[in-house]
């Protein structure tokens, strides 16, 4: 059974009165435990595709199924609940909250899952251990290197045991060495059973995945 399924999905934006088709009639299917790369040049619509698949956005037409459930017509609050439970995000620019410690950044999704403070801290420590940052839990983001910050972001993506982890250019702001480390962690997570969807424009990074979906001008090739 497919974990995530997109059927004839289109997304049209209105820009200054002109309709722009960011994604056009895209269909794809991702099974549990897969490591998939969505690849394309900038402006190809790969980010929009990720937003649709990651429940950050709803399609203009077509249907998105997560675990067999149609999520195309849900409202913002319902989508937020699904993102909280089923999806973890890793962004190019880390997106950590600068004024709170690593451990509090990691436990953030659990606040909205209604987990109490003690359990949040326990689980955040475990998640930071998984990405090799046990010694850095009390550090603020600006006290960490880029690679460490991205590992904190991965721990945050993992913490609520999501079905899918989306990584949007996760190595884009990192040097080669930290980038490799981050990719190894993602590969490792995939081997432990996590489903990972990687968005990138770099072939080298896409090579970590088992399967690559190419997108150009909003269409899947």
């Amino acid at each position: 059974m497919s974990l995530l399924k997109l059927v004839g999905v289109s997304k049209i934006y209105q820009l200054d009165g002109v309709s722009v088709k960011a994604v056009e009639k895209a269909s794809l299917e991702i099974k549990k435990g897969e490591f998939v790369a969505i690849m394309g040049p900038s402006g190809s619509g790969k980010s929009t595709l990720m937003h649709l698949a990651g429940c950050l956005d709803t399609p203009s037409s077509g249907k998105v199924y997560l675990k067999g459930k149609n999520i195309s017509n849900l409202n913002e609050a319902e989508l937020a609940r699904i993102r909280n439970k089923e999806i973890g995000f890793v962004f190019q620019s880390f997106n950590l909250i600068p004024r709170i410690k690593a451990i509090d950044n990691v436990s953030l999704p659990l606040i909205y899952a209604g987990v109490n403070y003690e359990n949040r801290i326990k689980r955040a420590i475990r998640a930071l251990e998984k990405v090799g940052l046990k010694e850095r839990i009390q550090h603020l983001p600006n006290q960490l290197s880029g690679g460490e910050q991205q590992r904190v972001a991965i721990a945050r993506a993992l913490i609520n045991h999501p079905e899918i982890i989306f990584a949007d250019e996760p190595t884009g702001n990192l040097d080669t060495k930290s980038g490799d480390q981050v990719m190894k962690i993602l590969k490792d997570l995939n081997q432990k059973g996590h489903t990972i969807i990687l968005v990138t424009h770099e072939q080298e990074i896409a090579d970590f995945a088992q399967r690559t979906i190419k997108i150009r001008d909003g269409k899947i090739e």
Binding site: H51, K85, N95, I97, I111, Y112, G114
Partner: protein, 402 residues
């Protein structure tokens, strides 16, 4: 849905991250709340003091004043300066009232004049009041040493004087003043008594006055007419009847415009209502600063929402609903106003206690509750717009915001 203590915790962390800014934002509310409490405390204190002073006189007291004073009749009439008119009362009136008005307990003339008191090398300028022997009883201020003058001393215009405690300290220091001769405006007077300490309010004191028989004061100042009468009715219930009777007697010789009858109750009512309006006006002006404080909160919250656009986008991406974001930012605004309100209450009460050393202040519970309630409400009202703005942000755009 996340609970109340979680939201408050989040709000406090956010406020702590920008300590100086948070403090400055709160300052508007702090100043607003403390000044509302302080001004209302001064207003209530003043009112309590005056009520207390008039209560000393008793509710059965009537003053007969020269001129047409409309106070206490709710008319609000009387052109400015109408009260300033030369007294036309004579001894004849005194005798007439004494004989014709049966419901009075006593009547005594009350004359004010300025006098220069001196004893040996010391001098003291104060007010010399010409009164009758009933004064200590009427004023509710007993004689602590010596005695007050008698009816016969009044009738024979004796040069005797009774002093307030402050005058005694100025002129005699530690000496016993009783029996000593002092000079008042070139005339020799014998000190026969000292009045007990009464205190005062904002510089006005009853302890720095001197009292002589009214007949003596009339002579000394070469006055023909009596300035005013101080009447005490037989009982509080008879005040209105006594007023009518006194009025009837005076109208035999005088016009309506020549005199006014004031009783303590109507004076008290008038002063109370003036002070209430004044207090409300002062409180209202102070409340404007609460409004300004609220605008300050709104301003800083709007800045905060813009600054934290990416944070809001991220919170939404990891599962915060629009409602939860709204609640978080609304709570931050309310925490501002509540913290500001609490500090303001502290400062307001503290300030009132300090001012209380100089003039009487009374902090009322309702003024604390009112200003705290209004400040909290201000936080909610001015927090809604920024919080709604935050909750409506599109997570995708917010995450990309630079």
């Amino acid at each position: 849905m996340i609970n109340f203590s979680e939201t408050t915790g989040l709000a406090l962390t956010a406020l702590k991250a920008n300590k100086v800014r948070s403090f400055l934002t709160m300052l508007g509310i702090v100043i607003g709340v403390s000044s509302v409490i302080l001004l209302l405390a001064i207003g209530s204190g003043l009112k309590n003091y005056i009520t207390q002073q008039l209560a000393d006189l008793g509710s059965d007291t009537i003053f007969v004043m020269p001129g047409n004073i409309n106070i206490g009749e709710g008319g609000g009439g009387g052109t400015p300066g109408a009260g300033v008119s030369l007294p036309k009362f004579t001894e004849n009136h005194l005798t007439k009232i004494r004989t014709k008005v049966k419901s009075i307990k006593y009547i005594m003339p009350y004359i004010e004049s300025n006098a220069n008191l001196s004893y040996k090398s010391k001098a003291y300028i104060t007010q010399l009041s010409g009164v009758g022997p009933e004064y200590p009883q009427a004023r509710n201020q007993a004689v602590s040493r010596g005695s007050f003058f008698t009816n016969s001393q009044v009738n024979s215009s004796k040069r005797v004087v009774v002093l307030g405690i402050d005058v005694v300290e100025e002129l005699f220091e530690d000496q016993d003043p009783i029996g000593k001769k002092i000079t008042i405006s070139d005339q020799r007077y014998t000190v026969i008594g000292v009045l007990e300490e009464k205190g005062g309010f904002g510089g006005v004191s009853y302890d720095n006055l001197a009292y002589a028989p009214w007949t003596t004061v009339l002579d000394q100042n070469e006055m023909d007419n009596i300035q005013s009468f101080w009447i005490v009715a037989g009982s509080a219930g008879e005040v209105n009847q006594t007023k009518e009777e006194v009025e009837a007697v005076l109208l035999e010789d005088l016009d309506e415009e020549d005199f006014s009858l004031l009783d303590t109750k109507s004076l008290l009512d008038t002063i109370s209502s003036i002070l209430s309006v004044l207090t409300a006006a002062l409180g209202g002006i102070a409340a404007i600063s609460l409004l300004v404080g609220g605008i300050g909160i709104m301003n800083i919250m709007l800045v905060s929402v813009t600054e934290r656009t990416r944070e809001i986008g991220l919170r939404k991406a990891v599962g915060a609903t629009p409602q939860e974001i709204l609640l978080q930012f609304l709570t931050e605004a309310v925490v501002f106003s509540v913290c500001g309100g609490l500090i303001g209450i502290g400062l307001g009460i503290g300030g009132a206690l300090i001012i209380n050393r100089f003039i009487q202040t009374t902090v009322t519970l309702w003024s604390v509750a009112l200003s705290f309630g209004v400040s909290s409400l201000v936080g909610i009202i001015f927090g809604v717009a920024p919080a709604a703005k935050a909750s409506r942000l599109d997570p995708i755009r917010a995450l990309r915001y630079e």
